[in-house]
Amino acid sequence: MTTLDTRSNPLGADVQGGTEPLWKRYLPGHHWRTADEEFDACTLGFWLFLATEVLLFAGLFCGYTIMRFKFPQAFANGSSYLDWRWGTLNTVVLLLSSYTMAASIRAFQMDRQSHGRRLLAATFVFGLCFLLIKFTFEYTPKLSGWFIAFDPALSHYTELVDNKALGGLFHHVAGYGGKAPGQFFSYAFSEDPWEPLWWSIYYCATGIHALHVIIGMTLIAWCFRRALFFKAYGPSHYTMVENTGLYWHLVDLIWIFLFPLLYLIH
């Protein structure tokens, strides 16, 4: 006699003494006629949430439009400080991660557990690469003037290196830093009075996007844990990994628009 609701309780495995994977034991909520209905409702709810996410970024894109319309030269100048090669690399990294995410859902749909987990882990690692590239090669030098020693851009500024730290791992280029948003701006070699505005838009857009990458990575790590310990996802139940995938693809979708708008203007 089992009256305990064990369908989503991982400990249920011990209670029932079974070794069935969680996805096989999963039953839809009692208020749903079928598991498909539950899946559809969850997915629809997640799409509604994604719509609000798009509208969050819509505000940013609208702000971008207004500022670029009014101060095109500041945006062209500001964009020229960014290296399109890092932007392209990050785009490729995110596209690859989107692929591994979609492939991981496919693997769970076909009950290929270890393959699905490997692809989830790959997605996580790609996300981490994206953040590392962003912070190491883009944010840090522009804000502070500190370059990591193997940054290829550093070779242009060897004459201006005035300080080194952590045993030569970081090099400081005099005058390079200070490209900060708004009132924190202190870069002395600007050519347009509105460049601080460009940096406000840049850090706001990429910063909120990076926050979404971090949230997406957290969800992926959580999915990985559930897949590893409980085999939570399989052919008949994979809602969480599906919705995590949707979130991750949205992050990719936003970057697809941010990349040309920030890196490829002139």
Binding site: R33, T34, D36, E37, F39, D40, T43, L44, W47, L48, L50, A51, V54, L55, A58, G59, F61, C62, T65, I66, F69, K70, P72, W84, T88, T91, V92, L95, L96, S98, Y99, M101, A102, A103, R106, Q109, M110, P193, P235, G245, L246, H249, L250, D252, L253, I256, F257, F259, P260, L261, L264, I265, H266
Partner: protein, 257 residues
């Protein structure tokens, strides 16, 4: 499609008396691995194309010295991004295979975004535009098409009304009498002439009028203690209208009198 019109269930189901289950039951679509790989390759190719297009535009402008219209850059980049986004939405986010209501939700959200952008651009894009019909009436500070007086047959002022009425009064009474009248009429008080106390408005940024902000030489020292009447651009001085009325509307200071 995921909601096929199925025949009515043959066996009566108490929990589903209207047979609605037929509209929600569907097998979950598994996208083929080949499709996913192809989409990835297409996306990477489009990334290369958008970067290549931007480089080509830069090359045309810097090496060939052909100035492209400003919209080319945006239109090319956004078109490619839209194609990429559609591919991600259809195949990675499974909109092509999932319940169509999800697509409706997303498209509605895009509609809201489009409205948002449309009205913003409608305003921004037309700020510099002058309706050709009104062009002959447009003057700095002018309202356009107003008449000199209440009568319907009064001549249309093709000038800022401030300037029109000042010039008419000067022509009528002469500049000396005008100045005498003005000195009586516009004694300095709140809103006219030099402010007696500091105003919150003084802290508003006036970008573009700070002398020497972006010039190589240091800007002239600003004497904060000088009386307002002694500043280079006197506002509200009793003899203000003595300068050319024609130049008044073009001056950076808003017309006070």
């Amino acid at each position: 499609m995921s909601t096929p019109h199925a025949a009515a269930p043959e066996v009566f189901d108490e929990l589903d008396p209207h047979g609605m289950g037929a509209y929600t039951k569907h097998s979950h679509h598994i996208v083929s691995g080949m499709t996913l790989k192809s989409i990835l390759i297409i996306l990477l190719a489009f990334t290369a194309i958008t970067v290549g297009a931007a480089q080509a535009e830069k090359f045309i402008e810097t090496s060939l010295h052909i100035e492209l219209p400003r919209w080319v850059n945006v239109i090319v980049a956004m078109s490619i991004a839209t194609v990429k986004a559609s591919l991600v939405l259809m195949f990675f986010m499974l909109l092509r295979y999932s319940n169509p209501i999800n697509t409706v939700v997303f498209l509605f959200c895009l509609l809201a975004f489009a409205l948002f952008l449309f009205f913003t651009l409608l305003d921004l894009g037309t700020r510099g535009m002058i309706n050709p019909i009104k062009a002959h009436q447009v003057e700095a500070g002018g309202i356009g098409g107003i008449r000199a007086g209440w009568r319907a047959d009064a001549p249309i002022i093709n000038q800022a009304p401030v300037v029109f009425w000042r010039e008419r009064k000067i022509a009528e009474v002469g500049i000396d009498e005008y100045n005498r009248m003005k000195s009586i009429l516009s004694h300095p008080h709140e809103g006219h002439g030099a402010p007696a106390v500091s105003s919150g408005n003084m802290s508003i940024n006036r970008p573009g009028i700070t002398p020497g902000l972006f010039s190589a030489v240091a800007p002239a020292a600003h004497d904060e203690h000088a009386p307002h009447g002694a500043s280079p651009a006197p506002h509200g001085a009793p003899d203000a209208p003595a300068h050319s009325p024609a130049a008044a509307p073009a001056s950076a200071e808003p017309a006070k009198h």
